[in-house]
C-alpha cells in the first residue's frame, strides 16, 4: 500500500515543532513592541493644532515662564490652558495682522474658545495632580521633555504606567530643587556641574541630591507612592 505522506512530511513535522515556538514568541514580542510604539502611544508625534503654536519660539526664544500661561500648575491638579486673552496680551500689540493668528483674533472677537488638541492625555481612571509634583521638586521637563525645543508640541513620554512607576519607584533619580522646577535648561548634578541648594550645600551626584530632597520635601515612602490607590482612586 502506498504511503499516506511523502518523506518530506518528516522534515515538515520536525520543523513545525521549532516553528510553532518561534512564531508564537515573535508574535508575542511584536504585540508588546507595537503596544509600546508611538503608533499606540503617540509619543514624539506632534499634533495638528488650530493655530501652529510653537513652544520653541515662546519658551526657548522669548523666555516666557511656563506659569505665564499655565497659571494654576502650582496650586491645582490641572495646569491650566490659557484663555485667548492671555495670547492677546502680546498679540494685540505685535503681529496684529499675521494671517496665522486669525483664529486667535476671531476667538477674541467672538468669545469662542480655541479648541486645542490635547497632547498629554492620561486615561480617566488615573488620578493625577500637577501641583503635588511641582511642589515636591519634579521638573516640568522631567515629564514634558524639552518643551523649549518643540516647534509643535508633542508628548515626550509614553505616559504608560511603567513610565510613571519608573519615577514613583525611585524618585531620587529625578528630583531637583524647587527653584529649578521651571528651568528648562536644568541639568542633573555632576562633578563638572555641581548643584547648589539655597542653604549653601553643594551636590555633585544626583542620587545624593535626590535622597536629600526626598527628606527635605517630606516625600512619602515608595510603598505609599506606588500603592494602587495613590493614582487609581
Amino acid at each position: 500500500m502506498a504511503q499516506v505522506f511523502h518523506r518530506s512530511a518528516n522534515t515538515i513535522a520536525r520543523a513545525s515543532i521549532i516553528g510553532v515556538v518561534v512564531v508564537v514568541s515573535v508574535l508575542l514580542w511584536a504585540a508588546l513592541e507595537i503596544q509600546r510604539s508611538p503608533y499606540a502611544t503617540y509619543q514624539n508625534v506632534a499634533q495638528a493644532q488650530p493655530v501652529p503654536f510653537s513652544h520653541q519660539h515662546h519658551v526657548g526664544g522669548d523666555g516666557i515662564d511656563c506659569r505665564y500661561c499655565h497659571t494654576s500648575v502650582e496650586s491645582s491638579g490641572f495646569a491650566g490652558i490659557p484663555p485667548t486673552k492671555t495670547c492677546m496680551n502680546c498679540h494685540s500689540q505685535i503681529w496684529t495682522n499675521a494671517p496665522m493668528l486669525e483664529p486667535v483674533r476671531e476667538s477674541y472677537r467672538t468669545g469662542e474658545s480655541l479648541i486645542w488638541t490635547r497632547v498629554n492625555d492620561l486615561p480617566d481612571f488615573v488620578y493625577f495632580d500637577h501641583s503635588i509634583h511641582i511642589n515636591k521638586g519634579v521638573g516640568c521637563a522631567s515629564c514634558h521633555g524639552p518643551v523649549d525645543k518643540m516647534p509643535l508640541t508633542y508628548a515626550a513620554n509614553s505616559l504608560q504606567m511603567e513610565w510613571c512607576l519608573n519615577c514613583h519607584r525611585a524618585p531620587e533619580k529625578f528630583l531637583r530643587p524647587r527653584d529649578q522646577v521651571f528651568n528648562m535648561r536644568y541639568e542633573q548634578p555632576s562633578s563638572d556641574n555641581p548643584v547648589k541648594l539655597a542653604d549653601g550645600s553643594v551636590f555633585t551626584d544626583q542620587i545624593a541630591l535626590g535622597n536629600e530632597l526626598k527628606h527635605r520635601y517630606n516625600i512619602r515612602s515608595t510603598e505609599d507612592i506606588t500603592s494602587c490607590s495613590t493614582c487609581h482612586r
Binding site: F5, A9, N10, A13, L32, S158, Q160, M161, C164, L165
Partner: protein, 464 residues
C-alpha cells in the same frame, strides 16, 4: 482461590469472587479494534446522535446570544450585586472544574496504580475533563466584566510595569486551571496517538487517512516507539497525579483564604477535592451508561466499571458528608457568633430549602449505593449520578450564596436571585459540553483501542 494478582502477573485482571470481569467474553485483538474503530469509521450517522447534537448546539446558540448580550451590556444582566458578587459564574466554575477531576483520577492515578478497569473508560473520561475544564474556564472570563483584558491575569512584561498579585488565590487559580487544561490536553492527545495510527490504517477515504495520519504523528508501532511511549505516558501520569489534588485545593483557597464566615476553614481543600471526584464520577456514569448502551459496548464497559465508579462515589460521598458534619460542628465549637449564625442561616435562612435538598441529594440518597443490587442496575446508577450532580451544584450554591448574602454586618445583607441570563449561560455550557461529547464520539475512538488489547489474556506478559 487466588485473590488479587499473582506476583508475576503484569496487567492481567483478576476479579474478586462474584465480581463481573473487566472485559466481556469472546473478544479478540481484531474484534476489539473493529468494534471501537467502526463506531467512528463505518457506523452511519443515526437520528439519535443528530438529535442529541442538535439539542447541544441549540443550547450553544443560546450561550452565544447570552454572551454577546453580556459583552454589550456587562455583568449587570446577571443577578449578582454587592454583597453577592460571585453568584452563578463562580458556582458553575467550581462545579465544572470539579467534574473534570474524575477524568484525571482515572487516567493518571489509576494508571500508576495499575488498575486495569480504567482502560475502557479513561479515553472519554479524559475528553470529559477537557470539555469540563473548557466550560469552567469560560466563567471566570465572563465574570470579569472586561473579558478582553483577561490576559492581564498572566505574568508578562506589560507596559503597566506591574506583575499580577501573586499573593491572591485568584492568580493561583489562573495557574492551576491553565496547567490543568494543558496537562489534560497533552495527556489525552498522547494517549490517542497509537489509536490515531490504527484509525489511519483502517480508514478507507484518502482524506480521512490523511487527517488521522497527521494526528498519528507517523506512529508505526515499532518496539522503539512503544518503549519511548510507555516512558512518556507514565511520566505524564506522574505530572498529572498531583493535579488531581492541587487544582481543587487552589480553587478552595479562593474561599478559604478569605475571612467570610463559612469560607474561612482549613477543611476546605480535602473537602473540595473529595467533592470534585464525587461529582466527576457521577458525570462519568452519566456519560458511560448511555454510551455503552447505544454503541453496544457492554463487553468493554462492563458492570465492573460501573460498580467501581459507584464505590468511589460512595467513598468520596462519605468524605463530603464528613465535611458537612464538621462545618456544622466547627460552627458550634468555634464559639464564633458569625460562624454559628452562618450555620443557622443555612439551616433556617432564606436558602434553607436548597441546603436541605443538598443534604438529601448528596448525603441521603447516595447511601442506597451500599446495596449491591442498586450498584448492578444501570438505571438506578444513572439516576443517582444525576442526583449527585445536582447536589454538588447546590453545595457550591450554598457555600457561595449563603455566606456572601449574610456576613458580619446585617446592614449590608442582600439576597441573590439568578436572572434568565444566568440560566442561559449555565445551560449554554451544558449544551457546549453535550455537543463536544457528541462530536468527540463520532470522530475519535471513544475507548482506548491499544489499552483494551492489553486486557486480553494473549497480551499477558509472564516473567520467566
Amino acid at each position: 482461590m487466588q485473590q488479587g494478582p499473582e506476583e508475576n502477573t503484569v496487567l492481567m485482571d483478576v476479579p474478586w469472587p462474584e465480581e463481573p470481569p473487566v472485559l466481556g467474553p469472546g473478544q479478540t485483538f481484531g474484534s476489539m479494534t473493529d468494534t471501537i474503530a467502526d463506531a467512528v469509521l463505518t457506523r452511519p450517522i443515526g437520528l439519535g446522535w443528530l438529535a442529541g447534537l442538535a439539542i447541544g448546539m441549540g443550547l450553544v446558540a443560546i450561550l452565544m446570544a447570552a454572551v454577546t448580550y453580556l459583552f454589550l451590556i456587562g455583568v449587570g444582566i446577571w443577578g449578582i450585586n454587592i454583597p453577592i458578587g460571585w453568584g452563578f459564574a463562580i458556582i458553575n466554575f467550581v462545579w465544572w472544574i470539579g467534574i473534570g477531576h474524575a477524568g484525571t483520577l482515572i487516567s493518571a492515578i489509576l494508571l500508576l496504580l495499575k488498575q486495569t478497569w480504567r482502560n475502557s473508560i479513561n479515553r472519554f473520561a479524559e475528553a470529559m475533563t477537557l470539555f469540563a475544564v473548557a466550560c469552567a474556564g469560560m466563567f471566570p472570563l465572563l465574570h470579569m466584566g472586561r473579558p478582553w483584558l483577561a490576559y492581564w491575569m498572566f505574568p508578562y512584561p506589560s507596559s503597566m510595569g506591574v506583575w499580577p498579585q501573586f499573593r491572591s488565590p485568584l492568580v493561583w487559580d489562573v495557574f492551576a486551571v491553565s496547567t490543568y487544561a494543558t496537562i489534560s490536553a497533552v495527556f489525552w492527545y498522547v494517549g490517542l496517538v497509537p489509536d490515531f495510527a490504527t484509525m489511519r490504517e483502517k480508514a478507507s477515504h484518502p482524506l480521512t487517512k490523511k487527517v488521522y495520519g497527521m494526528l498519528g504523528l507517523g506512529w508505526r508501532g515499532s518496539a522503539r516507539h512503544w518503549k519511548r511511549y510507555e516512558a512518556l505516558y507514565i511520566l505524564l501520569a506522574g505530572i498529572a497525579t498531583p493535579l488531581v489534588l492541587s487544582v481543587h485545593t487552589v480553587v478552595s483557597f479562593d474561599f478559604a483564604i478569605s475571612i467570610v464566615p463559612g469560607w474561612h476553614t482549613t477543611i476546605f481543600p480535602p473537602y473540595f477535592v473529595a467533592g470534585a471526584i464525587y461529582s466527576g464520577f457521577a458525570m462519568v456514569l452519566v456519560l458511560a451508561i448511555p454510551i455503552r448502551h447505544y454503541y453496544h459496548l457492554e463487553s468493554m464497559i462492563t458492570m465492573r466499571h460501573l460498580q467501581n465508579a459507584a464505590k468511589i462515589m460512595l467513598a468520596t460521598g462519605l468524605i463530603v458528608a464528613y465535611g458537612y458534619f464538621f462545618e456544622a460542628f466547627m460552627a458550634f465549637y468555634s464559639g464564633s457568633t458569625y460562624e454559628r449564625f452562618m450555620m443557622q442561616n443555612r439551616w433556617f435562612g432564606p436558602y434553607a430549602v436548597f441546603y436541605w435538598t443538598l443534604i438529601l441529594f448528596n448525603l441521603v440518597i447516595p447511601q442506597v449505593l451500599w446495596a449491591p443490587k442498586i450498584r448492578a442496575n444501570t438505571r438506578w446508577l444513572f439516576l443517582i449520578s444525576l442526583v449527585i450532580l445536582v447536589g454538588m451544584w447546590l453545595e457550591r450554591f450554598i457555600i457561595i450564596v449563603t455566606s456572601l448574602s449574610r456576613d458580619f454586618l446585617p446592614s449590608s445583607w442582600g439576597h441573590y436571585v439568578a436572572t434568565r441570563w444566568d440560566y442561559a449561560v449555565f445551560f449554554g455550557t451544558i449544551g457546549f459540553f453535550t455537543a463536544a461529547i457528541f462530536i468527540f464520539i463520532r470522530i475519535m475512538p471513544a475507548i482506548s483501542i491499544f489499552e483494551m488489547r492489553t486486557l486480553l489474556p494473549e497480551a499477558e506478559v509472564k516473567a520467566k
